[in-house]
């Protein structure tokens, strides 16, 4: 018997999958590249240059990042529109997570749009008009100059925190949505694992951002 797959079923499953792969994987790669700034501007600039030398970079970037990102963002907004939050009547942790997942999603919609136009394309007149990707030799300086503007740095801190939350909770959601985690104990244990993962990822992400304004990051000179 043929399997009838409804539109919603396919779109939701693609949404859940795209959040982990490629977007979650990409975030890890992104934080890895950012962390290159810990050992100095030259290492970071070389890492940016290396990324630009990936074979078929245009297709990798479009198929691996832009299409999944736009799909995940736009369909995520569609899902968010369906929500009828009732957190005051039912104030349970998972219900708050449900709401926060949607709030961080909306924050990310605006933050990532700004971030991509800003650094990837250099299309924010008055702030930055140089594409980091196309000028690897200036990459560190472009970021460093912007991060010294306090409001911009705060926007990035909020953006990083929202992204990390969205991914860490998103991994948990993926595991239940795809039937990997089932029972109550497994839900709890994978929940702890995702919190631990999120805390580590948040520290890595913030430390990498700080490395652009303080040599060596938070623990500069110690490690």
């Amino acid at each position: 018997m043929g399997v009838k797959l409804s539109r919603t079923f396919v779109l939701r499953k693609l949404h859940q999958l795209s959040g982990i792969m490629p977007l979650g994987i990409f975030l890890l790669e992104h934080f890895y590249t950012n962390s290159k700034a810990l050992t100095g501007p030259a290492d970071f600039n070389n890492a940016v240059k290396d990324l630009q030398s990936i074979p078929y970079i245009l297709f990798v970037e479009i198929g691996g990042i832009f299409i999944p990102l736009i799909y995940h963002a736009v369909y995520g907004l569609v899902i968010t529109m369906e929500a009828r939050p009732n957190n005051l009547a039912y104030p349970y942790p998972r219900n708050w997570f449900y709401l926060i997942q949607r709030i961080t999603g909306m924050i990310l919609f605006f933050f990532i749009t700004f971030h991509v136009l800003n650094f990837r394309f250099g299309l924010i007149p008055g702030l930055n008009t140089i594409s980091v990707a196309h000028s690897p030799q200036m990459a560190f300086d472009i970021v460093s100059r912007e991060f010294r503007i306090i409001p911009i740095f705060i926007v990035y801190m909020i953006g990083i925190a929202a992204t990390v939350w969205h991914l860490a909770n998103g991994i948990w959601l993926f595991m239940v949505d795809w039937g990997i985690t089932i029972g109550e104990r497994a839900q709890r244990l994978t929940g702890y694992a995702c919190i631990a993962f999120g805390v580590v990822l948040l520290l890595v992400g913030i430390n990498a951002a700080i490395a652009f304004i303080r040599p060596g990051g938070l623990l500069g000179g110690i490690l």
Partner: protein
């Protein structure tokens, strides 16, 4: 708050002299909702139903205006039929088991918001029955002849199936669900019944039909994992477990089913 804590709080409290009840009413399906306030003398061990019966006997509002007697549904009065479910102080629960001593006053009674409101506290929950039909929530048996004793189930499965079988179709899970609105999502109630019948040795034979019942536009993927359902369920049914088991079944069926054809 645990039941113990509630009882402790209760014992330290001076019983009130009166019970004030606000009811969100509606005269007929097409007319607007309005609030009416009633007050009745307190006595120990009152529940919502006994208060409503008192109001029904003498339908006069707190201000002294005569009104129509409020309408609600009830049947078993021991929290097994589910028909008396309403929203009490913001949360869906059975009014028969809602004791006045455990509730904050003034008590607010509202009809469930996720179903068509017929009159006062009465709602039409037939969409839940439609959902059960949509997922073939039964075991196909042809004829009345003796089919023998049937296959055996292990104790673990029996226990799990028993918990799903306790569903009384009250609708608390749907009222508490932030994703359930109108007919856009089939909801935990029907998904748990898919699990119940897909675990049954004879029910398994029509497993794919049930899976496709929850893989449509209003299907299982609309779950947002807020997990209010499992907290709101008065029968303690492991609804999230049922949803996640069916997530696994539908993912395998959806992703790999076509490879069998």
């Amino acid at each position: 708050m645990s039941a113990h804590a509630v009882n402790q709080k209760k014992s330290n409290r001076v019983p009130p002299k009166t019970v004030e009840i606000h009811i969100r009413r509606r005269a007929n399906p097409d007319s607007p909702q309005y609030w009416e306030v009633f007050e009745l003398p307190y006595r120990p061990n009152l529940n919502i139903i006994s208060c409503l019966m008192e109001i029904q006997k003498n339908p006069v509002t707190k201000e002294g205006n005569p009104t129509t007697p409020p309408v609600w549904q009830m049947n078993c009065l021991e929290q097994v039929c589910g028909i008396c479910t309403m929203v009490i102080n913001g949360r869906a629960r059975q009014s028969c088991s809602a004791l006045i001593d455990n509730l904050e006053q003034p008590i607010k009674l509202e009809p469930m918001s996720k179903f068509p409101n017929i009159r006062d506290l009465v709602v039409d929950r037939s969409q839940m029955f439609d959902h059960l039909k949509q997922v073939n929530a039964w075991v196909e048996l042809d004829g009345t002849h003796d089919l023998g004793p049937g296959p055996r189930m292990d104790q673990e499965e029996v226990q799990e199936r028993y918990s799903y079988s306790r569903c009384m179709t009250c609708g608390c899970c749907l009222e508490a669900c932030p994703q359930y609105e109108g007919d856009n999502y089939i909801g935990p109630q029907a998904i748990a019944q898919v699990r119940l019948f897909n675990m049954h040795p004879s029910g398994k034979m029509t497993r794919d039909e049930r899976l496709e019942g929850i893989m449509g536009e209003d299907g299982i993927t609309n779950c947002g994992n807020a997990q209010n359902c499992v907290k709101a369920c008065p029968m303690g049914i492991p609804l999230t477990r049922a949803i996640y088991e069916e997530n696994r079944e539908t993912v395998v069926h959806g992703l790999f089913g076509w490879l069998k054809s």
